[in-house]
């Protein structure tokens, strides 16, 4: 195992008749909905930049958490941070440029509201940001660190993997940094290229002692971020940056928690199990329930695969050593005899994330569709 990785993703079980022609007639299948989205039509001769390769489908307004407000993803993050600082007087937010509101506007208004000793800039130094955050957490105060882009988290890798993740274990539980949460924008954004598009979750999934969480929507983001902040273990919260503006839905104003260790079904079906997290979920989002896929939710995944016999996992991160390989390996251990087809992984290529070639690089709905088709017809 070596890791507990919490990812908000979804399991989609599709009802499929096996033949390709039947695909198009399936009602309610998220796949069909995804296909209804037209490609950008070019009216004039000049090239236009590609629009987003997906459409975000908002979830229905949540009723059980009180009054809601339409928020996009960065606003839902701000709301979570606002709630946290309001109820926990020890909580502080820090990182590069968070004081004026952050490069993605996630911390707008918080410094004015809570004071400059609680929302402040640090020097430009990721290893310092995380080390500093660990130190705050060691005293028991709540530390919410921001790393400006997940692509820049690597200078802090030592502090995260060698220190934060091991603090409790190596001290025999005398000390811990459980009240540390690291937030960072994650994933492709259309033009980010090598250093503004990475999805580094697999590096951290390999490290026992931390939790890695990736929301798929504003509602998820707020509830999961609040859970990360309150969780007694150091957490990394990756925020799909393409969703900061593109995803908007009704989100409760008051604090609420979405548990980090739980699985939900997005859409019931019987023929295929689909797993994804973050932006990938929107490739074929459905209106039904959501799923959080966790390693402790593996048992739920096994049940699903036992039922459907087919599993497709998709992520933007490169194929080799990506988290899909962990899921695939575990599922084949437990569900070997139930599999009707090889487990399919639709992922980024084993290259750095390119700039102009992004439309070809990303594991879009066409690649997922093609892989599904092959799997059904296996």
């Amino acid at each position: 195992m070596a890791v507990v990785a919490a990812a908000a993703g979804w399991l989609l079980r599709l009802r499929a008749a096996g033949a390709e022609g039947h695909w198009r007639r399936l009602p309610g299948a998220g796949l069909a909905r995804g296909f209804l989205h037209p490609a950008a039509t070019v009216e004039d001769a000049a090239q236009r930049r590609q629009v987003a390769h997906f459409t975000f489908q908002p979830d229905p307004e949540p009723r059980e958490y009180g009054q809601t407000q339409k928020m996009n993803l960065f606003q839902s993050v701000t709301s979570a941070l606002d709630n946290s600082l309001a109820k926990d007087p020890t909580a502080v937010i820090f990182g590069e440029d968070v004081a004026f509101g952050g490069v993605f506007r996630c911390t707008v208004g918080l410094r004015d509201k809570y004071g400059k000793d609680r929302v402040f800039n640090t020097p430009l130094c990721e290893q310092g940001i995380v080390g500093f955050g660990i130190g705050i957490a060691v005293t028991g105060a709540t530390a919410i660190a921001e790393i400006q882009f997940a692509d820049y988290i690597f200078p802090a890798f030592d502090q995260i993997v060698n220190e934060a993740a091991k603090y409790r274990y190596r001290s025999g539980d005398l000390f811990n940094c459980g009240s540390l949460t690291i937030r960072s924008p994650w994933g492709c954004v259309g033009h980010g290229a090598l250093y503004h598009s990475q999805s580094p979750e697999a590096f951290f999934a390999h490290c026992p002692g931390i939790k890695v969480v990736i929301p798929r929507s504003p509602f998820q983001a707020k509830g999961l971020l609040l859970s990360c902040i309150e969780d007694k273990n150091p957490c990394i919260f990756f925020e799909p940056k393409i969703l900061y503006r593109a995803a908007a839905e009704e989100v409760p104003i008051e604090p609420y928690n979405i548990p980090l260790s739980q699985a939900e079904v997005i859409q019931e079906g019987s023929d295929v199990t689909l797993v994804a997290w973050g932006t990938q979920v929107s490739k074929v989002a459905s209106r039904k329930e959501k799923i959080f896929f966790l390693t402790s939710g593996f048992s739920f995944l096994f049940q699903s695969v036992i039922k459907t016999g087919r599993l497709l996992i998709s992520h933007e991160a490169p194929l080799t050593g990506g988290f899909a390989s962990e899921i695939s390996s575990t599922v084949q251990e437990e569900c070997f005899l139930n599999l009707e087809a090889p487990i399919s992984r639709v992922c980024g290529y084993d290259t750095p994330f390119p700039h102009i070639f992004e439309p070809f690089y990303i594991p879009d709905k066409w690649k997922c569709y093609d892989a599904l088709r092959k799997m059904i017809n296996y």
Partner: protein, 446 residues
């Protein structure tokens, strides 16, 4: 900010200084006042004025091309209170510590020395897997520890155990248990020897990666400041660890975020085999402090009173003014880096002997005690016998105890044990049922 130029000017002025050689930077608001405002105010913009308007530095123009010479020939002077024979040089610097306290300092250092000898030997005999001695640096540990409050937080590197020794008599049991990794180890047998931790004494558990504790200590100090805890954080590291990026990060954060922290660098001349001439080209670690805007001092680390005075004053001001202090304690690592090292491969026996015989913190303090009439040969003999007995008792006890139950391999990874890990724990238990004879289960708690 004008770092190097101001520093160079101040160094020239301070040569022959009789007072503590604390480098005072000429910055408004730096002296003795709580600094709650950001260091740089927004400058008034005036295009008619010929003064520099750059936001990045507060300095005057100069029309002569001149590179600043790094002053390494005669560096920052070394503050000391006693000479090598333990005589007070300047009576006004004598901290006049009471007899009990000085005896406690002395006994802590000598007890540590005795424990070091015994545990080093025990590694050689295969009883423990690894050990690091503190020979020659005991003064840096106890001198600084004695200047702190009980609630102050300590982040160490690995060669500061004398501080923990100073703060309590149950320490021997704690050290032995950790080195043996037995059921009494507070760390539950997870780490190599000398990776001590003690929650009661606010001594954060040691980790092997170097300098990682530096930015962490800064964060802890920031939290202490916010909590109005009247606490300082002291962060120890060696001159080698000071080369790590984490050290740079820590210094810069402490200064910009105005944290009540003492950075205590033990400059003992070597990082394993690497001498300081290969570790840095500037004037040691103290000279870096002003570069970050940090009050800095260099002290004679083998002079317990100098270490004490500097730490005491740094503590007082760090807490009162919410700013960091850097103390570079010059000393010498008399022992090998660890039991995995044989330092005769890279330094001469003569060099080591000089420090052992001519400039040892324990000898110097003993001379002081003798001259005060607080100690004599009889007491010395009796104490050596007693301290050895104490150490041997703790040692034998620790050796007899079993190791913790192998189930403790799996706990504390997270606060709660995840299902996946429980499965792995069960899988090991089943494995041991069948193959247990191939494992040293006899030494472990059932």
């Amino acid at each position: 900010m004008a770092v190097a130029i101001a520093a160079a000017r101040v160094w020239r002025l301070n040569r022959g200084l009789s007072q503590a050689a604390l480098l005072l930077l000429r910055r408004p608001g730096a002296r003795g006042l709580a600094r709650s405002h950001p260091r740089r105010q927004q400058q008034q913009f005036s295009s008619l004025d010929d003064k520099p308007q750059f936001p990045g530095a507060s300095a005057e123009f100069i029309d002569k091309l001149e590179f600043i010479q790094p002053n390494v020939i005669s560096g920052i002077p070394i503050y000391r209170v006693m000479d090598r024979q333990g005589q007070i040089i300047n009576p006004s610097e004598d901290p006049h510590l009471p007899k009990e306290k000085v005896l406690k300092l002395y006994k802590s250092m000598t007890l540590l020395n005795t424990m070091d000898r015994i545990l080093y030997e025990s590694q050689r005999q295969g009883r423990i897997s690894f050990y690091m001695t503190n020979y020659g640096e005991e003064g840096t540990h106890v001198g600084s520890a004695a200047a702190l409050d009980n609630t102050d937080l300590v982040f160490g590197q690995y060669r500061e155990v004398g501080g923990l020794m100073y703060s309590g008599t149950t320490s021997l049991e704690l050290f032995m248990a950790q080195c043996y990794g037995n059921i009494s180890d507070l760390g539950k047998g997870r780490q190599m020897p000398v990776h001590y931790g003690c929650k009661e004494r606010h001594f954060v558990t040691i980790s092997s990666p170097l300098a990682t504790q530096i930015p962490q200590a800064v964060g802890a100090a920031y939290a202490a400041k916010r909590a109005n805890a009247n606490r300082v954080v002291i962060c120890y590291f060696g001159e080698g660890a000071a080369s790590e990026g984490d050290a740079h990060a820590g210094f810069n954060f402490a200064a910009t975020l105005e944290c009540p922290i003492i950075f205590f660098c033990r400059n003992n001349g070597y990082a394993i085999s690497t001498p300081t001439s290969e570790q840095y080209r500037g004037d040691g670690i103290a000279a870096r402090g002003p570069g970050y805007g940090i009050m800095s001092i260099r002290v004679d680390g083998n002079d317990v009173f100098a270490v004490y005075n500097a730490t005491k004053e740094a503590r007082r001001r760090a807490v009162a003014e919410n700013q960091p202090f850097l103390i570079e304690a010059m000393t010498y690592r008399i022992g090998h880096h660890s039991t995995s090292d044989d330092s005769s491969a890279y330094r001469s026996v003569d060099e080591v002997n000089y420090w052992d015989k001519q400039d040892h913190p324990i000898s110097r303090l003993r001379h002081y005690l003798l001259s005060q009439g607080w100690w004599d040969e009889e007491q010395e003999k009796a104490w050596r016998k007693q301290s050895r007995k104490k150490v041997m008792e703790a040692f034998e006890q620790a050796e007899r105890k079993p190791k913790p139950n192998p189930n403790l391999l799996f706990s504390d990874v997270y606060q709660e044990m995840p299902a996946q890990l429980r499965k792995q724990q069960e899988s090991l238990a089943r494995h041991l049922q069948t193959y247990g004879e191939h494992y040293p289960l006899d030494h472990f708690d059932k």
